[in-house]
């Protein structure tokens, strides 16, 4: 089978979901089911005694592996502490490392991300860093021992798709760990393109959770990721400047 393998663990789905932005846990639950995902991110926040229901219960019922992130961290120190708290709370040493530079763009800070990645790898974590579409940084993070690299297509929640497909291809060409396109996906064709470019998986949340019909968009993303993967494996035809007849031209 064509499994996705991260740090030795197999996943038959190449669609990784986030849980942010869903209007309710019920809507989220239906979307996760429709997506077929087997790996899904959660954030770590102060416990709210008034909160009812837990995203963890939803994931447990669906037998989906939890991937805690360090969303909201601005420094390596904050991210390392958040990862350690997530390991303690959730019993997993996997972490989506996310260190943002500012709240307006939510773009990842490469310096803090690299610093945190080195510290977390040394502490035994399976580190999946969220980064810009920077081939040099992706290579450095792989050399530092990260289990995957997760370049963005466009800023978080923007739905702008993949702004620099060429850089994503360069990252894919050089990587020997999985490349997961993370952030910027707006609709199904964006997810298919990520896979056609050679990404090993796609991580998305907003495109599904804030769609008018989250369950339907989740199903669309599932199909798009599969279609894009198949197209990549099939090998697309070269682009040509002029027509090439597919039928014989002589009668």
């Amino acid at each position: 089978m064509d499994d996705l393998i991260i740090a030795g663990e197999k996943f038959s789905s190449r669609l990784i979901m986030g849980t942010g932005g869903a209007p309710s846990l019920e809507v989220l639950d239906q979307a996760l089911a429709a997506s077929g995902t087997e790996l899904t991110t959660v954030a770590m926040r102060r416990l709210d005694p008034a909160a009812r229901g837990s995203v963890l219960d939803v994931l447990r019922r669906r037998d989906i592996k939890v991937l805690p992130n360090t969303a909201g961290c601005f420094t390596a120190g904050e991210a390392v502490l958040t990862a350690r708290l997530a390991r303690e709370a959730l019993g997993t040493d996997w972490v989506k490392l996310e260190v943002i530079a500012d709240e307006r763009t939510l773009l990842p800070d490469p310096i803090e991300t690299f610093d945190a990645a080195e510290r977390l790898v040394a502490d035994g974590f399976v580190v999946l860093p969220y980064i810009g579409d920077d081939p040099a940084l992706a290579r450095r993070l792989e050399q530092a021992g990260c289990a995957a690299v997760m370049p963005l297509g466009a800023p978080i929640g923007s739905g702008l798709g993949i702004r620099n497909p060429h850089n994503i291809e360069l990252i894919v060409e050089a990587a020997s760990v999985p490349v997961i396109l993370d952030a910027g996906i707006g609709t199904a064709s964006d997810a298919a393109l990520a896979m056609e470019l050679g990404c090993d998986a796609v991580l998305l949340a907003t495109a599904v959770t804030r769609a008018q019909r989250p369950d339907l968009m989740a199903a669309a993303m599932k199909e798009a990721v599969r279609a894009g993967r198949l197209a990549r494996q099939a090998g697309r035809i070269p682009r040509r400047r002029y027509a090439e007849a597919s039928s014989p031209m002589t009668p």
């Binding site: 986030g18 849980t19 942010g20 932005g21 869903a22 846990l25 989220l28 991110t41 959660v42 954030a43 770590m44 926040r45 102060r46 416990l47 005694p49 909160a51 837990s54 995203v55 963890l56 939890v66 991937l67 805690p68 992130n69 969303a71 120190g77 502490l81 958040t82 350690r84 708290l85 997530a86 390991r87 303690e88 709370a89 959730l90 989506k96 996310e98 949340a205």
Partner: protein, 66 residues
């Protein structure tokens, strides 16, 4: 003495443990993690770790995100 739990100041008895501080927020002991002054206190140490005046306690859990 005064300790800060998730950003709010609380007047508490001297020698209150991390476990007791957590129970002011939730009866849960799974899916929850605690840091005191930015250092993780593992669950096995909650009952035996006493807080001190001015300690900052953070009690975190997983929420929707990412």
């Amino acid at each position: 003495m005064i300790v800060t739990i998730n950003g709010s100041a609380h007047e508490v008895a001297d020698g209150i443990t991390v476990a007791q501080a957590v129970r002011t927020l939730t009866p849960a002991t799974t899916g929850v993690a605690v840091a005191v002054n930015d250092e993780v206190v593992t669950r096995g140490a909650w009952e035996t770790t006493a807080l001190r005046d001015r300690d900052r306690v953070e009690v975190l859990t997983a929420v929707q995100g990412g």
